[in-house]
């Protein structure tokens, strides 16, 4: 009670001070990320400068100027270039902006050069890094970029029947008497949980299954209990989980506790919350050709292709990769957003990090896909 009174008085005092001594708006500190790109109309007298000038125009959304810096405009229509860089079909890239980039000349030979551009995109779901190796050629004294546009296969016009199951829910009304039957929340079960120290962060990974016959919207919470029995912290899986689970579907989850160490923790209490939601079994997204590889930056990644087997576009896809050791225990869960839309029947590559600490221990893995479709009917 005394504490409550002290807190109330302190709050009142602070509010009064805030009114009497208002703080003027401070300037927003700039966030430095990578190298600053030149403004519109930068120099093109070196390969690196040409690439940076192009990226500067992209950052400024000056598409005409950026397109004029391409060497292969006869192969790359302007619209296709803009869609490739700026995104289309409501993809994640359409909600992103180029924050900055680092460029490095990999090799230069007479009138040709290869420049690596490590681009940092700021998106609605966090940063996304895109690395491209761009061929640059000298044309009439100035360097221009050969834009590597990947031609997407044309999906022939066709009718794709959708006859997968769809669930709708009718709930009990507010006027119904107590005891009137209602639909129960779905039964979900956490099938595994593993606490992992990842640098300075404690991470809880595992899997959850929807044991019911109806779709479930699932979230997992974890509460850390310290050695003295007090709760240290509580976090949720946030977006590191496939939230909508169809019957018998299994999803990985990952819960991050920044700044905590395993040695501080006596126990972890897990809570799986499940809600009954309308859902559809469509679209079906296949994950093809999953394999481990090392990317151009020397990092171990799990790569593959996503194939949207339905007839409508998936605007945003998120890949969740579960890594298992030789005992079948979940040792890590990583995720990555695909910043391009998944067009019907069209493979789209993906790549997610494999942390260095897990590389030697991974015996197998499993990839699942979260999806978001705008204006879902």
């Amino acid at each position: 009670m005394k504490l409550a009174v002290v807190l109330v008085l302190a709050t009142v005092a602070l509010v009064i001070l805030g009114f009497i001594f208002p703080v003027h708006q401070a300037t927003t500190p700039g966030i430095v990320s990578g190298e600053a790109l030149p403004g519109v109309g930068g120099s093109t007298n070196t390969p690196e400068a040409a690439v940076r000038s192009l990226l500067g125009d992209v950052q400024a959304h000056d598409w005409s100027r950026a397109y004029s810096l391409l060497a292969n405009t006869s192969d790359v229509p302007k619209e296709a270039f803009i869609h490739d860089v700026n995104g289309n079909y409501g993809s994640l890239r359409t909600f992103s902006s180029l924050e900055g980039s680092r460029t490095r000349v990999l090799n230069e030979n007479g009138d040709q050069a290869l420049v690596r551009a490590d681009m940092h995109w700021s998106t609605a779901v966090g940063p996304i890094y895109d690395v491209r190796e761009l061929k640059v050629v000298r044309d009439n004294g100035s360097w221009k970029v050969v834009w590597p546009l990947e031609k997407q296969p044309n999906v022939p016009p066709q009718v794709v029947p959708v006859n997968y199951l769809r669930w709708d829910v009718i709930y009990r009304g507010p006027q119904d008497d107590w005891g009137t039957q209602n639909v129960d929340s779905p039964q979900v079960r956490i099938v595994s949980m593993n606490a992992v120290q990842n640098g300075r962060n404690l991470v809880i990974v595992g899997e959850v299954v929807n044991e019911d016959t109806v779709p479930a919207f699932v979230d997992i919470n974890a509460i850390l209990t310290g050695k003295n029995g007090q709760n240290l912290d509580e976090e949720s899986s946030f977006d590191k989980i496939q939230h909508t689970l169809l019957p018998k579907q299994v999803s990985p989850y990952r819960i991050d506790f920044p700044g905590y160490n395993l040695s501080q923790v006596k126990s972890v209490r897990m809570e799986a919350k499940a809600m009954l939601v309308p859902a559809s079994a469509d679209p079906v997204i296949a994950v093809l050709n999953q394999h481990e590889q090392t990317n151009v930056l020397g990092r171990k990644v799990l790569s593959g292709d996503l194939l949207n087997e339905s007839g409508r576009t998936v605007n945003i896809a998120q890949v969740l990769a579960t890594y298992y050791d030789s005992n079948g225990k979940v040792i890590w869960v990583s995720d990555g957003y695909v910043d391009r839309a998944l067009l019907p029947q069209t493979p789209e590559p993906f790549s997610v990090d494999m942390p260095d600490s897990t590389v030697g221990q991974v015996q197998s893995y499993r990839v699942t896909v979260n999806h978001y479709i705008r204006q879902q009917s």
């Binding site: 709050t11 009142v12 509010v15 009064i16 107590w178």
Partner: protein, 178 residues
């Protein structure tokens, strides 16, 4: 005659706002007075065992329900019942308040604490029956005149069901004995 209306200046506005904020906080503090003491006994509970969190929330919400009831009956404000009372409990108590207001009456409950025992906890966790021994002072007022005053130990049977973030009282009945 046109009267000039003085609009408050900037500093006056700030002072008025400060005073309003202080008043708001003070009123909230007054309303948020301590709920009555509730001793909770789960030694005879069945068939479901009580979870730790539920074991803390039930006596907390029972105490808050009684606190709400006391204020509602003293001030003849049935709307206050909505958060901790539901269903027929809410309807009956609201009817009592409406009837006493119509007759110019008020009832004052001075709560000296409760000994609450969990009697039945349904296997799915959806309902709990409680036996409450309450130490109460009850005053009935006609206008501002106390026409009846007593202190008594009373027995109540309560039924609570879970809402979104707290437990609600669905039944509150005084009984001669357990």
């Amino acid at each position: 005659m046109r009267r000039a209306i003085a609009c408050p200046t900037g500093s006056q506005t700030r002072l008025i706002l400060c005073a309003a904020v202080v008043a708001l906080f003070l009123s909230v503090t007054c309303l948020a007075a301590d709920a009555p003491q509730v001793q909770f006994d789960i030694s005879h509970i069945g068939p479901r065992q009580m979870e730790d969190v539920t074991g803390r929330n039930i006596p907390r919400d029972w105490g808050r329900a009684w606190q709400t009831l006391a204020v509602a009956f003293e001030q003849n404000q049935p709307d206050l019942l909505g958060h901790y009372f539901v269903g027929f409990a809410q309807q009956k108590l609201a009817a009592a308040i409406a009837a006493q207001e119509k007759s110019g009456l008020r009832t004052r409950y001075i709560d000296h604490g409760h000994k609450l025992a969990a009697y039945f906890y349904s296997p799915d966790g959806g309902a709990i029956e409680l036996h409450d021994t309450a130490d109460l002072e009850i005053q009935v007022l006609d206008g501002n005149t106390v026409i009846h005053s007593e202190r008594a130990t009373l027995h109540y049977i309560g039924l609570m069901t879970p809402a979104a973030d707290h437990w609600e009282v669905r039944l509150l009945e005084s009984v001669p004995n357990f």
